[in-house]
Symmetry: C2
Amino acid sequence: MSVIKKDYSRPLDIRHGRVDMGHGAGGRAAAQLIEEVFLAAFDNEFLRQGDDGAVFTPPPLPPGARLVMATDGHVVSPLFFPGGDVGCLSVHGTLNDVAMSGATPLYLTASFVLEEGFALMDLKRIVDSMAAAARAAGVPIITGDTKVVERGKGDGVFISTTGLGVVAPGVAIAGRNARPGDVVLLSGSIGEHGVAVLSQRESLAFETAIVSDTAALHGLVAAMLAAAPGGVRVLRDPTRGGLATTLNELTRQSGVGMVLEEAAIPVLPEVDGACELLGLDPLYIANEGKLIAVCAPEAADSVLAAMQAHPLGRAAARIGEVCADPHHFVQMNTRFGGRRVVDWLSGEQLPRIC
Amino acid sequence: MSVIKKDYSRPLDIRHGRVDMGHGAGGRAAAQLIEEVFLAAFDNEFLRQGDDGAVFTPPPLPPGARLVMATDGHVVSPLFFPGGDVGCLSVHGTLNDVAMSGATPLYLTASFVLEEGFALMDLKRIVDSMAAAARAAGVPIITGDTKVVERGKGDGVFISTTGLGVVAPGVAIAGRNARPGDVVLLSGSIGEHGVAVLSQRESLAFETAIVSDTAALHGLVAAMLAAAPGGVRVLRDPTRGGLATTLNELTRQSGVGMVLEEAAIPVLPEVDGACELLGLDPLYIANEGKLIAVCAPEAADSVLAAMQAHPLGRAAARIGEVCADPHHFVQMNTRFGGRRVVDWLSGEQLPRIC
């Protein structure tokens, strides 16, 4: 209830300042935080409108084009980890959800829940990382919101982002589209993001630094679709729950089964070693810069070649095949010649990984 | 790291169950929570796609039509208050931000940050309230996300919603459009939302129950635009920081001043009484179902009549006028014949009001 008298004619003291409840109250302190931290980093014509929403002219939509919206909350702990932070992650995570419809992302929005006492310096670092990721992806953050909760009622910063994208006519990508005989492709090695976050959280030092694979995948998707426009049936990024859980979601959605080849699934040796040490299975570890593609058999080779020609798909591999299976099992031919069922992640393996 | 073996073939125990970390891990527990709580309530063709984004065909956009996106985080405390809860608030708040561009809202997305241990019964109550608000507004929640943070790292539930809407050709509403001579209209009495939340938070019992005004305003906006298509220049909902702060934002954006008539600003007697008791000024209290409209002078009467003919604008009033002022002051002719400057809210008055 106290009206704190502050001198808003001076710039924020980013180096020593902390988030206080006034920064979320919608008054002058909130306006100053928005201008000097968020606007300064995200700067674009839409945010400069200064209204509660951002108005824009959509690109011309040819007949048959559709739009896609995706939203994702980001609560990763710790906020900074090898290879990234919650800021760039919140941009990549939502861009990737948009891209998994085969869409070209257009715009992003961002909603922040800040904890009282959070260092403005850390906030600025996170916001600058978001801005850099958005700029690199060519997708502006056009509107946002900031709330502040009392110390002990949040955890530094949570970021929810929402993306809007355009799906070109003729692109029909959805989790329910896999058919027996289709080929399962994976864009690269699995497990880096989860292991990088966990190693930071637990202060583990591995011999070789394992860094998150966090990256925006819409460029890779565009290259794949250009190579075989109608040949990609399903795209999905194996984040929480990892490759195993994501493939189980897909078999359930499509009403099919899958058979994987364990030897074909790329895992970096250092991730393999870390997982062994920690008692984790890389199949269940989150990724933030990888995708699974289910392709028509006749398109698989050209899609795979397009992936391997892209910087984010150099280690892409054919990892399995879709089959008919009324139980919707994901099975795996193991390195040792056996076959086992790869089940869903059933409890918590790694909480707050994204 | 423990793999909790649970029987997911049984429905969730909503009556006694609580959110656990597994509900945020992206595995089978998360899928069950989403199906039995979120999908069950929000049920629509887009969510049933079951993908990480929702694909839709936009309505035909005539030449000159634009789109608008708005996003808002909701951290109100307590989660339930007289007249509403964080669920319906998270729908109304974002719909209103979309509507303040003069747009027709099309779709909503929702991102949840849940605290471990939160009662599933309360979650269901909130989600059902969101679903009812979305249905009443005619705007489906087409995609969403759920994260879980450890006990003590959140506060029950935070909800970030994002809305997409269409602005018809010829509608040009923005905070920078007010001009000297324009008329300032207010759609009804101020202060109810903030006082309702505060009374619940502080367990105050007033003689007359004060309930939040939370409501979706896009229908009211449509009626106003139909009455005077080009006559509405600015729309804004006076939420955090209240009427006073919102008008100061507008004078700054438009580079003008304003003169208000205190006697013309509607305040319910019970709100006036509660504010006096609590040492609050209704001018700074949040509203969630009111709007300010700045209109061309020749359009003001017909816009006001359209507001008063709508259920959410029955108490609409002409509260002041825009003037030229290089200082961008909001001034007020008081009930007692004086004139004073109505400044921005400068610190925190009421934290976590929305």
